[in-house]
């Protein structure tokens, strides 16, 4: 598929385009708006507790999305928490791709005992539900951002590994791989310069969906007070703070939830769109 057809398919795919647009808007808001508002995400203000959203009646000077039970500006918290989540999501997906793809290449290319060991390792990690394994490890390591990243990566690289392995097994039997072997190329050369470029499509699709999943899992752990610890804001711990005040001050939980939804939705839209865009069968 040449570049022009690819671009045309992308533009004509409604899911892909809405995903990209939501994601770009979200990123712009997250990185521009905090500079415009006069409030800090972690400063308490006992005089301004539980204020209802003022929207834009006073521009960015007022509490656009209201304040929480400690008088902190919710907009500032949603935005700063969002930055943290985005960064964590990116780092986690990057590490998962590196580990998962390498393991998958090794398993698929060498086969035999290497394959068996790596695949059984995947089975063991998959044998315990993500969130439960995450909770247990976080309980042992204690909440911190580094530990959070370790936990998310530990449970998340497996999909990349299994997918890459299955694709490598097919690619290994292709003529270009055999030709490289015949002219005496090394295993590393064949794996990384011949096979890898031919199995990237699925990796890209999974990566865009895993980004959203990493953020979801991060916020679930933060919701249980095992992820990003207070007073640092995170969408998860904001929903957790807000749920006790649902009867009287519902806006505390709502803003963070909407932000989380748009972020994951964008990531899923992009992944889903890419699946159609990159799949020759679907057109």
């Amino acid at each position: 598929m040449n570049r022009k057809t690819l671009l045309k398919r992308m533009v004509h795919n409604p899911f892909f385009m809405s995903g990209i647009i939501i994601m770009v808007i979200l990123l712009l808001i997250l990185w521009i708006v905090p500079n415009l508002i006069p409030y800090d995400a972690t400063t308490n203000s006992l005089l301004e507790m539980n204020k209802a959203p003022e929207w834009f009646s006073r521009g960015f000077e007022g509490h656009v999305l209201g304040t929480d039970s400690l008088g902190r500006d919710i907009l500032a918290r949603v935005l700063i928490g969002g930055r943290t989540s985005m960064k964590i999501g990116l780092i986690v997906v990057f590490i998962e791709i590196v580990i998962g793809t390498t393991m998958g290449l090794l398993a698929g290319y060498f086969g035999g005992i290497v394959d068996t060991v790596i695949m059984r390792l995947c089975d063991i990690i998959l044998a315990i539900p993500n969130l439960i394994l995450g909770i247990a490890i976080m309980a042992v390591l204690g909440p911190s951002i580094i530990n959070l990243i370790i936990v998310l990566c530990f449970t998340g690289w497996v999909q990349f590994c299994k997918l890459t392995r299955n694709n490598v097994i097919i690619a290994k039997e292709m003529e270009y791989s055999k030709a490289s072997k015949a002219i005496g190329a090394s295993d590393t050369h064949i794996m990384f310069t011949q096979i890898l470029p031919n199995v990237t499509t699925d990796i890209i699709i999974i990566a865009s969906e895993k980004f959203g999943q990493a953020i979801l899992l991060e916020s679930a752990l933060s919701f249980l007070n095992l992820g990003i610890a207070a007073p640092a804001p995170s969408w998860g711990n904001m929903i957790s703070d807000g749920k006790s005040f649902l009867m009287v001050y519902p806006w505390i939980a709502m803003s963070a939830g909407f932000a989380l939804m748009f972020c994951v939705l964008a990531s899923n839209f992009i992944g889903d769109g890419l699946r159609d865009v990159l799949d020759p069968k679907r057109y």
């Binding site: 044998a127 315990i128 679930a220 929903i239």
Partner: protein, 307 residues
């Protein structure tokens, strides 16, 4: 068939063995010498050493591991420090509640999602397909805690129709937790049955059945779906296994007295015996369900056994 069952059984046992090793090591890593905790402040070194001996902590890790496994096989999962009772009793008293919630959710999810997936997959690109995909994407993109909070806000706070905590309200108290969990599950099931249908409907044998003049509805719901059903069974099994281990977030929000709430308490109270047991249980549950799923799949699609 018998050979296949034994092969899968062997793999299940291996996975379970490693899960138990992880559960064992993780809690050992948890820091804090249990002997120190038991002895309390002001205990002398000799007293601590005595307690360590009585707990078997002075022996090599391998010996300790086999003791631990031996105890589990005899039904002794240790004592919960936060509840002050045997872990096994605690789990047995909570498990039925989680089982009820998980079963109702799976039933609700399948009844909703499988037909939706079949219809969407058979009419790719239509309005129905668009809404099914949107329903699925929304379900996957909204965090469970967020769905729960929104549902509570709409149905309990605003409309006042449904209870938001506990399970005393009979059938009414199931509605919100099942909606929360079921939407996520049916999102995945819809997507996987939809894409399975799309792939299958492109196969030659489908063209052949159409050519024979069989009604399109029969072709889709009987012939095509039977070929697309294996990934659906796998997914439903996996979701069921995950939920049986406790649906932590939903149980925490709705104060549902199940295994998930137990795990949440255990983690917050640093009740390591309980965390360990629940970790092992979720692994075991998952492995057994996976085993069952593979057997069912091989009965539905005999090609699987040959792989």
């Amino acid at each position: 068939m018998v050979k296949y069952i034994f092969k899968r059984l062997g793999q299940t046992v291996i996975v379970l063995f490693f899960v138990s090793v992880i559960a064992f090591l993780l809690i050992r890593l948890a820091g804090g010498n249990p002997a120190l905790l038991l002895a309390g402040d002001g205990a002398t070194d000799a007293e601590i050493a005595e307690i360590e001996r009585s707990l078997g902590l002075d022996q090599p890790l391998v010996v300790q591991y086999f003791k631990y496994i031996g105890n589990i096989l005899r039904g002794d999962l240790g004592r919960s420090t936060s509840y002050g009772m045997p872990v096994a009793n605690l789990i047995l008293s909570r498990f039925p509640n989680t089982l009820k919630l998980a079963s109702v959710t799976v039933l609700f999810g399948c009844i909703l999602a499988i037909p939706l997936g079949i219809i969407a997959g058979s009419h790719q690109g239509t309005v129905i397909d668009f809404f099914a995909t949107l329903f699925a994407l929304l379900g996957q993109s909204m965090a469970n805690m967020w769905k729960a909070v929104v549902f509570i806000y709409i149905f309990s706070v605003w409309l006042g129709w449904l209870p938001s905590i506990g399970m005393e309200g009979g059938i009414k108290s199931y509605v919100l937790p099942v909606m929360t969990l079921g939407w996520q599950m049916s999102a995945q099931v819809t997507r996987i049955s939809r894409s399975g249908m799309i792939d299958t409907l492109h196969e030659d044998f489908i063209t052949a059945t159409y050519a024979k003049g069989i009604h399109p509805l029969v072709v889709r719901w009987k012939y095509a779906f039977k070929n697309a059903v294996c990934p659906v069974i796998t997914l439903v099994g996996m979701r069921f296994g995950t939920m049986l281990a406790g649906t932590i977030i939903v149980e925490a929000i709705f104060s549902w007295p199940g295994l998930g709430q137990l795990l949440n308490t255990a983690v917050n109270q640093r009740d390591y015996a309980l965390v360990q047991a629940l970790l092992l249980l979720s692994g075991a549950m998952f492995a057994i369900i996976n085993f069952a799923v593979d057997i069912i799949n091989s009965l539905v699609d005999p090609r699987i056994k040959l792989r």
